[in-house]
Amino acid sequence: MATRLKTPLSEESVRSLKLGETVYIDGVVLTGRDEVHIHALEMFEKGESTPVDFKGAALFHCGPIMRKTGEQWEVVAAGPTTSSRMNSLEPSFIEKFRPGAVIGKGGMSQPTVDAMKEHGCVYLAITGGAAVLAAKGIKSVSGVEWYELGMPEAIWIMNAENFGPLTVGIDTKGNSLYAAVGAKVKENEKRARSQLGLE
């Protein structure tokens, strides 16, 4: 049975998740990628508050395609972007804003794994490129902030229902599925090299 999580995510519910577990999210999903991280951290430094509260949030590394009909925005396609671009920003973002989950693809580096352990946050992997499937789990859009950053870089406030499937890629105990695969790949590299005649 897959676990259903409701936002805002409690630290307890997040800390109970296991590596490799399948999860679906109900509630609010906020998109945020490069520019959102940069701007939110700049505002924090200046002592200003951001237009949305990230505490316990499901932060989605996503730059969607949106369509506006009348006054209402709708999601056309909303798959994840490459999370590693946010590697240098995420540890500090997690410390300052305390999201409960980061949703993305490709995994994140050790400083983020450490920050997730310390502050109670998980990394949930969603299939890259599967943007129509992901959009199916978004029932409506209640708003947009920082639209001036451009459609992909804005904060889209999305109402999710059964959003997933998501795989727990980094848990709150310092485990990372990506690190585990990385260790195996390192082992397999020897076979690949010998097959190619490289020593």
Partner: protein
């Protein structure tokens, strides 16, 4: 008489087909990969990919939110009178609204986004003159997740084939799960620094099931592909048998003192499309035959 408006319409239709539906050879390769995986995690990733492909086709919706930047390859008849390049620019502008495409093109320094995927030298158009009497337009909508993992190197001639293999392997290892594997690799060898990169991207235009006509290059393609699939990076970098579903090489003669090599990395959503516009106005979409 083919008019500029006809070409514009063809470009909008070409972009719609390209971002919604994968060429048959790519779909077949992804289905085969799903069949070959055993473990639950890679199977689930490929299932999500195949479900997503079906949903995109049903809803005539772009399969991925990253509809890329638009790279065009056009072949014009010798006596062409239509302003094809202008029609492409306008076609991209229209497709951004009508399909829709995500507005991805920004100024490289100010990062300002004009919102219509059009700016200086974007769409990027590679143009040549051909012997046929039709206009041929091929587009690649290239996402950034995979493009960002691309690399090139100026090897020394003494590094030879071993150096090339080493470079391809290291590029894929460095890319890991970032470019949305299962990936396709386009490898460009020779020419010059810029030509090797161009060749690497052009290699991605060849169907995955078609090997290079030079048997030595064809066997290098096969050898590299098999070795990369021993790595276990797997779909989305979550582990599995399928790291790459294709690897194509293109080469050009180069300076006796150089060995340029480039790898253009492509995600599973290997979107490419071609339209031929005949003098009588008839249009053919050879990459998307038999589909609306």
């Amino acid at each position: 008489m083919v008019t500029e408006a006809d070409v514009q319409d063809a470009v909008v239709e070409l972009l719609r087909k390209t971002v919604v539906r994968l060429p048959a050879d790519v779909k077949v390769a992804l289905e085969a990969a799903y069949g070959a995986e055993v473990d639950e995690v890679p199977k689930m990733q490929l299932k999500a990919i195949l479900d997503n492909i079906a949903l995109a086709e049903e809803g005539v919706t772009p399969m991925c939110q990253d509809t890329g930047v638009t790279i065009f390859y056009i072949t014009l008849p010798r006596n062409a009178t239509v302003a094809v390049e202008k029609a492409i620019v306008e076609g991209v502008r229209r497709a951004t609204k009508e399909v829709p495409l995500r507005p991805n093109a920004v100024h490289p320094i100010t990062r300002k986004n004009p919102g219509d995927n059009v700016g200086d030298r974007m769409p990027y158009i590679n143009c040549r003159v051909g012997a046929e009497d039709h206009i041929e337009i091929t587009v690649m909508t290239k996402g950034a997740g995979s493009e960002n993992m691309s690399q090139m190197a100026m090897l020394t001639p003494s590094q030879g084939v071993k150096g090339i293999k080493e470079f391809v392997l290291n590029t894929v290892l460095r890319a890991g799960g970032n470019p949305c594997p299962p990936m396709v690799l386009g490898v460009g060898i020779g020419g010059s620094a810029d030509i090797s990169m161009k060749l690497a991207k052009e290699a991605l235009l060849r169907p995955l099931n078609k090997r290079h006509e030079d048997p030595a290059i064809a066997s290098l393609e096969q050898e590299l592909l098999e070795a990369l699939n021993l790595l276990g990076i797997g779909p989305m970098g979550l582990g599995g048998k399928t790291t790459a579903i294709g690897l194509n090489i293109e080469y050009a003669f180069c300076h006796t003192a150089s060995l340029p090599v480039a790898v253009n990395v492509q995600c599973w959503a290997a979107r490419r499309g071609t339209v031929r516009i005949h003098p009588d106005g008839r249009m053919e979409f050879p990459t998307h035959e038999g589909v609306s």
